[in-house]
């Protein structure tokens, strides 16, 4: 090949990849926006998309419509959107940092830490609402710090972190079981409901906190994506390319932990969304392309869809976590089966 044809091929390949990323990101944005609107259309009485948009944009002046859309349905829809974005971004950062599709933060102990703190609060302190969210937030952050300390040895390496994370998760889950056995019936029921995870349970303060964090942290995560792509090549290669490996990794981990902790605090430990969002985005983007924004959008799409199914399609409304669990578990089995066959589990 002459240098000219090589240059052309390189350019074409580059263009193909950037176009694909742009198309996928644009498409996902449209899908998420559509789901967001549909979430506000359905309910005890149906609205049209025009009515929802009119109320959102303030072009239709109808107090009863505003009450339904802005007062009742917007908070739930916005929670679904925000929690999905946060879980998707958090999950894909972890999976890329640890180079393992199993390394979703809800697998490596953080959701369990949040749950233990929240359930303890519900059962022993009889607290509710914002206090539970605060405890969950603290629990997730403490679990993350604990794991970072336990798994730390000349930096965090993938498999070690995952195995310790699974150990920590099992430990916390055991304690949650213990706490539940000590609970009165009412508190136990409340705790179980929280543990299943549902976007309907967020209160306005939690939502505002999560939205605020997203506005700051999603751009931060997207800025750190360049460093993340280098860290994937191994620490030595990343350093050789001029990345401050420890600093970038700490920044990425912190971003990911805070996003996950706030999402869990707002909606409870909704399982599998963080696990599936990254791999689905990767399928759409093409292998190893990676993208925090597309993964966040997939997370939002999965969560909004699950919530629509859970609340409106099933004969009795269920918590969102039931649906994500039912869809996510078979995916996990498939993932375990195929990664082992390819020998790429770590």
């Amino acid at each position: 090949m002459t240098t000219l044809t090589v240059a052309k091929a390189v350019r074409a390949d580059r263009r193909r990849r950037t176009t694909r990323t742009a198309v996928v990101t644009g498409g996902l944005t449209l899908v998420v926006f559509a789901l967001f609107v549909v979430t506000m259309m359905v309910g005890s009485f149906r609205l049209t998309a025009a009515e929802v948009l009119g109320s959102l944009l303030g072009t239709i002046d109808d107090p009863s419509l505003d009450f339904v859309v802005l007062g009742l349905r917007l908070p739930t829809a916005a929670t679904g959107l925000a929690v999905g974005l946060a879980l998707g971004a958090s999950g894909t950062i972890f999976q890329h940092l640890l180079r393992n599709p199993l390394a979703s933060p809800d697998f490596v102990g953080m959701s369990s830490g949040a749950s233990l703190a929240a359930v303890s609060g519900i059962v022993f302190l009889q607290v509710g609402g914002l206090a539970v969210a605060g405890l969950a937030l603290g629990g997730a952050v403490i679990a993350a710090l604990l794991m970072y300390l336990l798994a730390w040895k000349d930096g965090v390496s993938g498999y070690r972190f995952i195995l310790i994370g699974i150990g920590v998760a099992a430990f916390f889950d055991g304690l949650i079981g213990f706490v539940l056995t000590r609970a009165q019936l009412f508190e136990a029921r409340q705790a179980m409901h929280w543990l299943t995870g549902s976007v309907g349970q967020a209160n306005p303060t939690e939502l505002r906190l999560l939205l605020g964090a997203l506005v700051v942290l999603l751009p931060v995560a997207m800025m750190l994506q360049r460093q993340l792509r280098m860290l994937e090549l191994g620490d030595d290669a990343a350093r050789g390319l001029g990345v401050s490996a420890e600093l970038s990794r700490a920044g990425l981990l912190a971003t990911s932990v805070v996003l996950l902790a706030l999402a869990v605090a707002a909606a409870g430990p909704i399982v599998f969304v963080a696990l599936v969002a990254g791999p689905i985005a990767n399928r759409l983007l093409g292998p190893a392309t990676g993208g925090i924004a597309p993964a966040a959008l997939v997370g939002a799409a999965v969560l909004l869809t699950s919530d629509l199914v859970a609340v409106h399609l099933l004969p009795t409304p269920l918590p969102t976590g039931v649906v994500t669990g039912a869809v996510g578990a078979p995916y996990l089995l498939w993932l375990l089966a195929t990664t082992n066959r390819q020998g790429t589990g770590g």
Binding site: V6, R11, D13, R14, R17, L233, A237, L241, G242
Partner: protein, 258 residues
Amino acid sequence: MTRLRAEGLSLGYDDATVVTNLDVTVLDRKVTAIVGANACGKSTLLRGMARLLKPRKGAVYLDDRPMAELSTLEVAKVLGLLPQTPVAPDGITVADLVGRGRYPHQGWFRRWTERDHEAVTLALAATDTADLIDRPLRGLSGGQRQRVWVAMALAQDTDLLLLDEPTTYLDINHQVELLRLLRKLNGEQGKTIVAVLHDLNLASRYCDHIIAMSDGAIVAEGTPQEVITAELVEKVFGLACVIVTDPVAGTPIVVPSE
């Protein structure tokens, strides 16, 4: 004038010091091989020179400035590195991987420029990997894969290039192919190259300068003819041998004696 040198360098991991008090001068525009028995500290020295390991004592100087004072990004624009075991993300394509070598030249907002295109194109052409650009790395042969990693390091567009055991796991043909590539890069682009190598015969044949290490110290240094002697091989590797002359290139060849 030398661009890369170390003075009184001591390096180690955890509580073990691996190399002590080394003075190393890397010859500009030459191909240097670091050789030595397993665990003699040759990879450690290379990692130290590439600022992957912080010196216990002494310092590494790049263009006469202590490397510790330079930002890692500044260093990456001058000095490229191919680690011993780089990791490729699942399914990554050749073009994607080689393009990542441009990282040190891109800013937060300045993304992909003509200069990047040019560097990637040249790197692919030099390593003869241009027809592989849309192939996943996993599907390539060991030799092709190693050439792609070299292409990534080349895309970084640095005057100095350090390679940690680049020929390990390659068959003889691919080893020769890779060393010829390094020679070519040195000849055509004037790159200064340092590689940790295992095969003394290939190191003699394709390198200008050899640094022989034993137990964390440099025991001999010079041209292959000066360094590769029966006494040295006995001392460094504990192998009794006879040195004969390569019939093609006239370089020394190690033949184990009875």
